[in-house]
């Protein structure tokens, strides 16, 4: 049975029995390398991807989609949809603070994010404490909104956070001292190998390196703030977080991103401390594509890279079998600036659809 896209939106809703698989047949899918693949179907059952194939073997209801089907984008570190301040400033370290406790699920921002093709947001505490607290991965729609309540511990070696007048270390050395003391606690075992550090200089990058190099199985990542061009080279071959593009000095930014890309640095874009425009995630990916000439690297920076940095690549950020079926239907390639979001599917239903007046 083939339904056409006009019928799709309603057909995916209630009438279908939950157990039935749905075979989505778009014009093309966005493959892991960012290229378009035509003639592929994505089979979804109970909110999960069960098969991706040209001729799927799973039985189910076939739905013809006009457009390009892609995994939803992930905001690697964000403050959207949560309390404006996610920090506790009366304490030097706040390892028990959880971003998930500051969520504002009723905010209208979630729908706006879906309209821009974002299906998961990693909410992180403000990087004002040396050990700031736990991040949370939140889905922009669906029955269970919190995908992971304790993702990664956020740390900060950012000079501006260190130097402010509030409680905290007064120097980078002081920050290192506090971190070493904190890591010596048994409680730190839970997170010290899986931290994300906001860094903004070669010095803070080195401090992070020294702190974590003696830890076994360290899987720490850095989020690069400030003048990335002056210290980005220290992260050759690594996966790093990067604030979305803010305007100004774009020529230098372009050169920096291109050089880092050539040095094997992979990026995961986040909107915290970046541009507050809601579609800046995609804009940054498009800019990265232009700057580096690699659509593969650009597409990964908003999908599989943030997932990998979170250690959740089997859950989100790709069209892998077994992953959450957080899917976005676009009118063209998501990195084509003329493309728009037609619909977003989550939990096996249509979570969002574009109103005709928007197009």
């Amino acid at each position: 049975m083939i339904l056409f896209s006009t019928l799709l939106l309603t057909s995916l809703l209630a009438p279908l029995p939950q157990q039935d698989a749905v075979i989505l047949q778009p014009d093309a899918i966005v493959a892991a390398d960012g290229s378009l693949q035509e003639g592929m179907s994505v089979v979804v059952k109970e909110g999960r991807i069960v098969e991706v194939a040209a001729e799927p073997t799973t039985a189910g209801t076939t739905v013809r989609l006009s457009g390009v089907l892609a995994p939803g984008m992930i905001d690697a570190f964000s403050g959207h949809g949560a309390d404006r301040l996610l920090t506790e400033q009366s304490l030097k370290t706040t390892p028990d603070l959880r971003a998930v406790d500051g969520l504002q699920l009723s905010s209208p921002i979630w729908e706006s994010l879906m309209a821009r093709g974002v299906t998961a947001v990693h909410i992180t505490p403000d990087a004002t404490n040396v050990v700031a607290g736990w991040g949370a991965l939140v889905s922009t729609a669906g029955k269970e909104r919190v995908i992971e309540a304790k993702t990664r511990m956020i740390g900060s070696l950012v000079q501006s956070a260190i130097n402010d007048d509030r409680v905290g270390p007064s120097s980078l050395a002081g920050a290192v001292e506090i971190l070493e003391a904190t890591f010596a606690n048994a409680a730190a075992k839970e997170y010290r190998n899986n931290m994300w550090f906001f860094v903004e200089s070669a010095e803070s990058a080195r401090a992070m390196e020294n702190l974590t190099s003696d830890l076994k199985d360290s899987n720490n990542h850095a989020i690069l703030m400030g003048e990335v061009g002056s210290f980005g080279g220290a992260f050759a071959g690594q996966l790093v977080g990067l604030p979305t593009m803010s305007y100004g000095a774009l020529a230098r930014r372009a050169a920096t991103w291109e050089l880092m890309h050539k040095a094997g640095v992979r990026f995961a874009f986040g909107t915290r401390a970046g541009n507050r425009e809601w579609d800046s995630l995609r804009t940054s990916a498009m800019a990265l594509s232009r700057f580096t000439g690699s659509a593969t690297a650009a597409w990964a920076s908003v999908t599989s890279n943030p997932a990998e940095m979170l250690g959740m690549e089997s859950e989100v950020g790709s069209l892998k079998v077994g992953a959450r079926a957080d899917l976005v239907l676009w009118t063209g390639h998501p990195l084509d600036s003329t493309a728009t979001v037609t619909a977003v599917f989550m939990d096996g239903t249509t979570a969002y659809r574009a109103t005709s007046e928007e197009n």
Partner: protein
């Protein structure tokens, strides 16, 4: 070895030419614009003769090919070409000679060329590429300015960017060189370098094209740059600068209306100058005589008998130089603008300021372009009626709290719907040229026509800047192009390259 150097010699030659001509022009004009508004004044005859000589020198200069340093002939075969509005070829063949399009066709139109003896020398070299060719973008508003211009301690309202353009960009002005390289790699083929970046009066900017060595070279027209009011920033609703600009024009007009008085002043001055000449000669003779007498008396002469003091002849007085009638380059520039001889570009964001700008154009009949124009969508009809072209910067939204109902795309579409001529530019943001096609694509996504939006990046800004050789790929136009492999130049999922002619 010699062959390898041939192109270079050619270029050095052209640079020399360039330097000489620029130097001559600089001396001739010497900071003064040979103003049309003053052409009736006898005082300015000399200036005009000088300007005429300058024009003759300029017109006898070598053709553009040598100026820009592009010297090769070749044919590019591509999957297609966006030649200009309404003209799309598939496939496309373009012959390029000296950096210009010789012909463009969907067929290979190469003919066998022959040498002087009638022997065949084969066909022109063909380069095959995959993707679609399109004209390079014209960035009608950049933040670029030569270091020499920026180094000025007190920005002058009469300085010309052209006078500050470097002769050799890579060594002389590395910052500008990096900016030009970035713009070129982003697919920009020509741009506008504004006179200054702050203050009400910013001087005289100019449109520029780029040479084979990435040197920005004056092309198209010059314009007077102004900025009024505040940026579209909350908390800074308006300033009174737009009124200031208004009074400057009014003052210039009043001055022009009192030309008869000025004529009299000039005549009087000329007479006085002649008298002064006579007086000066007389004085010099007297002074010489007096000096001789003084010397003959000896050093103690003055201290002699007290009674003779009154009889001692006094030293002759040097006559006073008559006062020149006041002239003002700044005012002359405003008068040129009123004559339509020079374009006026005004940066204004707020409704109040834009209203003033419309009033300015109507009252003084200016060739006026509005830049920034954050609130222009509120006055779309007025702008259309006043025939004011608008240059929207792609990175403006960061000034204000992003308003989803008045996004960049929506503001553009509102202006176009009212038939306002709109160009899209990088604006005051360094390096934003990379964002031009991406932000422009958002307009297409919001319902704008692909062709219209592309025109706003190419032919429309070219026309505003008077760059008659840019904006399309028709015969005779610049062959600085882009090559895209995606669905359109707005598609960032596929390769996009800039083609710099050889």
């Amino acid at each position: 070895m010699k062959d390898g150097l041939k192109g270079r010699e050619n270029h050095v030659d052209s640079l020399d030419n360039l330097m000489t001509r620029r130097l001559v022009r600089r001396i001739l004009t010497n900071g003064r614009i040979p103003s049309r508004s003053l052409r009736n004044h006898p005082l300015n005859l000399r200036t005009h003769l000088a300007a005429l000589c300058g024009t003759l020198l300029l017109s006898s200069a070598p053709a553009l090919a040598q100026e820009t340093g592009y010297s090769r002939t070749y044919v590019i075969q591509a999957d297609g070409a966006w030649v200009g509005p309404g003209i799309y070829l598939e496939p496309a063949f373009i012959q390029i000679t000296d950096g210009r399009v010789v012909w463009v066709s969907d067929q290979d139109r190469r003919r066998e060329s022959k040498n002087m003896l009638g022997q065949s020398t084969g066909k022109t070299k063909m380069i095959t590429v995959s993707g679609i060719l399109a004209p390079g973008m014209v960035d009608a508003w950049s933040s670029y300015a030569p270091a020499d211009f920026q180094a000025e301690r007190r920005p002058s309202s009469t300085r010309r960017v052209e006078d500050s353009l470097p002769m050799q960009v890579a060594m002389e002005d590395p910052v500008l060189y990096a900016q030009v390289m970035a713009a070129r790699s982003a697919g920009v083929s020509a741009t506008y370098m504004a006179g200054g970046h702050s203050g009400l009066r910013r001087g005289v900017g100019t449109a520029v094209e780029f040479t084979a060595l990435d040197l920005p070279l004056k092309a198209g027209r010059e314009a007077l740059d102004f900025a009024v009011g505040s940026a579209a920033q909350p908390g800074f609703e308006r300033t009174y600068q737009s009124e200031e600009l208004w009074s400057a024009f009014v003052e210039a007009k009043v001055w022009r209306n009192s030309w008869d008085d000025y004529d009299e002043e000039v005549e009087k001055y000329t007479e006085e100058l002649e008298k002064y000449q006579e007086k000066l000669e007389k004085y010099l003779t007297e002074k010489k005589e007096w000096d001789v007498k003084q010397e003959a008396k000896g050093p103690l002469a003055g201290d002699g008998e007290d009674g003779d003091e009154d009889k001692e002849p006094k030293a002759p007085k040097r006559p006073k130089l008559p006062k020149e009638p006041e002239s003002s380059i700044a005012r002359d520039l405003l008068l040129s603008a009123m004559d339509g001889a020079i374009q006026v570009r005004v940066v204004a964001d707020r409704v109040h300021d834009i209203r003033e700008v419309i009033k300015l154009k109507k009252e003084f009949g200016l060739d006026l372009v509005l830049l920034g124009a954050y609130d222009a969508d509120f006055l779309a009809k007025e702008l259309a009626a006043a025939e004011i072209a608008v240059i929207l910067p792609v990175v403006q939204d960061h000034h204000a709290t992003p308003d989803p109902d008045r996004s960049f795309a929506k503001r553009y579409l509102a202006l176009r719907e009212a038939h306002v001529t709109v160009a899209i530019a990088s604006g005051g943001s360094d390096g934003a040229q990379f964002m031009l096609p991406i932000r422009a694509g958002e307009i297409v996504a919001a319902g704008g026509s692909q062709e219209g939006v592309w025109a706003s990046l190419t032919s429309v800004p070219a026309k505003i800047l008077g760059l008659t050789d840019y904006g399309t790929l028709h015969t005779g136009m610049s062959a600085t192009m882009i090559l895209f492999e995606g669905a359109s130049p707005f598609d960032a999922s596929a390769p996009f390259k800039a083609h710099k002619p050889k």
